[in-house]
Every structure is written in C-alpha cells, then in structure tokens.
Amino acid sequence: MAAEGAGHHGPMEQFEIRNIFHLDLFGHDISFTNSSLMMVVALALISGFMIFAMRGRSLVPSRVQSLAEIAYEYVAGMVKENLGEEGMKFFPWVFSIFIFILILNLVGLIPGNFTVTSHIIVTFALAAMVWLVATFIGFWTHGLGYLKLFVPEGVPVWLMPVIIPIELISYFIRPISHSVRLFANMMAGHTMLEVFAGFAVMLPWWGKIAPAGFMVAFTGLEFLVAFLQALIFTVLTCIYLNDAVHMHH
C-alpha cells in the first residue's frame, strides 16, 4: 500500500489527474482533465441551482428557494459580522468562494468522483487569491499605513525587534496555512476512506463488516468536514479582509 510500484492500487491513486481532452495554449498544457471536469460540474450545479431556485421569486418561498436564501443569508451574516455593512461589496466574491469550495468538497464525496480541493495547487491558488486581494485592499485603503499591521499597539519599543518578525512571518504564513488546512483535510479524509475501503476489500468475510461500518460513519464525518472546511475558509477570508479594511488588530 505504501510507496509501491504501478500494479497495486495505492490510496494515492484517487488523486491522479487524468486527461480527458488534450489542449495547448502557447505551448502550455491546459488539457481538460478530470479535475477540470469536476470544476465545470460544480459551476453548472451552483449556477443551475441558484437560478432555478429563484425562478419563482415568491415572497413566501418554496423549499428550493428557501435553500438558496438560507445560503445567501448565512454568508451575508458572516460578512456583515466580520466586515460590517460596508463589507457587502465583497459579498459576491466571498459567496462564490464559499459555495465553490463547498460544492467541490461535496461532489468529491460521491464515490468515484475526483476531489478538486485535494490538490494543493488548487487550494493554494484560492488562498493566494484571498491573500493578494486582502493585501491589495489593505494598501489601497490605508496606503503605507497598512504596514502598521505588523506593529501592534501597546508594545514597548525594546520588544519590537522580536514582535515585528513574528508578525511578519505569521502574515506571510497565512496563504500557506489557509490552503494547507483545506488541502490536508480533504486529502487525509479521502485517503482514510480509500485505506478502509481497501481493508474491506482485502479482508476475508469475517473481517469485512468492521471497515465497512467504519466507512459509513466516516463518510458522515466527511460530509461535516466538507461543510466545515468551506465555512472555515470563508470565515478566515472575512477575517483577513477585516484586518485589511479596518486595521485594529
């Protein structure tokens, strides 16, 4: 199961990227892969659901419309709580992040599907986008005063040479921790599922029940983790944006 060669199905094989169409852009490979397929499926699901749910546009919502409204209100509540009423201009972006990650996580849980967010490059791209946008907004709003973020108030001068590097490092670690959190959760979860599925397949008849039962429970947990990780990613996005827009730490 470990670093074995090609014949044996390891738990890492589920993360392989397989090409569906091969495409090239100026010599760069931009093939349409299983990962891209899942992204497009997520996009279609989200757009389709949101537009379909609001078709009735009734004041007394149907169940489907309720669902869309609940998602909207939940993320809007999060944005307003962390960024205040003026933060609603960031709302479509934050909502897109939340719903995209959520649907990608959930779609990956369907047996046989590929989990897009289990690739570090995807989560790192999203976290880097958040970090870059927050830094840009910070400098745009406060100019060079944004650098005061690394100099918290009430710190005596002789402590500064210690505090400032710590603050700097923790600021630059943000995209890494932000992305690795989501990536590690997804990869660990799916690896566990695959390992226990392997047990259930390999063991004789008297040993199949326990891994299978564990997998059922663990899949339930993975649904919770999928939702939770999307939530955490979004909450931290709001917090980082808040640090950039209103600088009181």
Binding site: D29, S35, L43, S118, I121
Partner: protein, 185 residues
C-alpha cells in the same frame, strides 16, 4: 515573499518530480499544475460573474422586498394599534366623565328631592297644627257647651224627679235656684 514561496514550491516540486513520477504524490507533480490553474481560473471567474450579475441580485431583491413588505405591514399594524389605543382611551375617559357626571346629578337630585320633601313636610306640619288647634277649639266649645248643657240636664232631671216625688210641676227657675249653689259656680 510570495515569489519566495513559489520558488520554494517549485524547487520542492522539482525535487519530488522524480519520486512523484514513480508513483508518488500526484499533488506534487508539477506537470498537472498549469491545467488545474487554468481551469480553476476559468471556472471561478465564470462563477463570480454568474453569481454577482445574475443569481445573487435576485436573491437579494426577494429578501429585500420581503423585508420591506413586513416592515410596511408592521408599521401599518402599529399605527392601527395606536389608533385603537387612543380610541379606547377616549372611550374610557368619556365613561369616567359620564360616571362622575351621573353621581353629581344623583346627588343634586337627592338634595332637591330632600328639600322638596322637607318643604312638603313643613307645610303638612303647619296644616296639622292648624287642624289640631281648630279641633282643640271645637272640643273646648263642645265641652263648654256640654258643661253648660249639664246644668240644664241636671235641672230637668231634678225637676222630673221632684215631679215624680211630689207629683207636682215645679218651675225650672226654682230648681235652678236650688242647684246653683250645689254646682258651686
């Protein structure tokens, strides 16, 4: 630092590439970076566009409209409630006034009736006193008349008796002359 991170990732990726090619972690295989990044960018921008231009404004409109409608209904309800309260207060006040009035009127009427009754009583009293006096006078007159009549009756009776006794008519003045000193006039 972002450049440094990317460089670090690239170096690690290159180092891991040999191992990765031989069945290691697919996540660290740099071959797959560009397609994933490209399609992530494409789908995320498309999603952002759809959300911000189409889907989210619709939801926002419905929620806003519902909130406005509820607010309008609540305002109307509270306004009507205020009017009801005011009407109730007015009614209560009118009732209290009327009650106060009623007790005043009752008192007034009682006093008036009492005064009238008193006047009537006094009038009747006066009448009765007058009647009593008149009756007293009549009784006195009758009494004196009766007393004076007694003398005549006594005279007559004495005369009748004497006549019977002496079988002779006796004139009334003679009897009177005799009786007068006995009467003690």
């Amino acid at each position: 630092m972002f450049a440094g991170t990317t460089m670090l990732l690239a170096v690690a990726a290159e180092a891991a590439e040999e191992a990765a090619q031989s069945g290691g972690l697919p996540q660290l295989n740099p071959h797959h970076f560009t397609p994933q990044l490209f399609w992530l960018a494409v789908t995320f921008v498309a999603l952002l566009f759809v959300m911000s231009k189409i889907a989210l404004p619709r939801v926002a409109d419905v929620i806003e409209e519902r909130r406005d409608r509820i607010k309008r209904d609540l305002d109307a309800a509270s306004r009507l409630k205020d009017e009801t309260d005011k009407a109730l207060a007015d009614y209560e006040k009118a009732l209290a006034d009327a009650r106060a009035n009623a007790s005043g009127i009752a008192k007034q009427t009682r006093e008036k009736l009492a005064a009238e009754t008193e006047a009537e009583r006094q009038r009747v009293d006066t009448q009765i006193t007058a009647k009593l006096k008149e009756a007293d006078a009549r009784i006195a007159a009758t009494k004196s008349k009766a007393l004076s009549a007694i003398g005549d009756i006594a005279t007559e009776t004495a005369r009748a008796v004497v006549e019977k006794l002496i079988a002779q008519d006796v004139p009334a003045e003679d009897v009177k002359k005799v009786l007068r000193p006995l009467a003690g006039e």
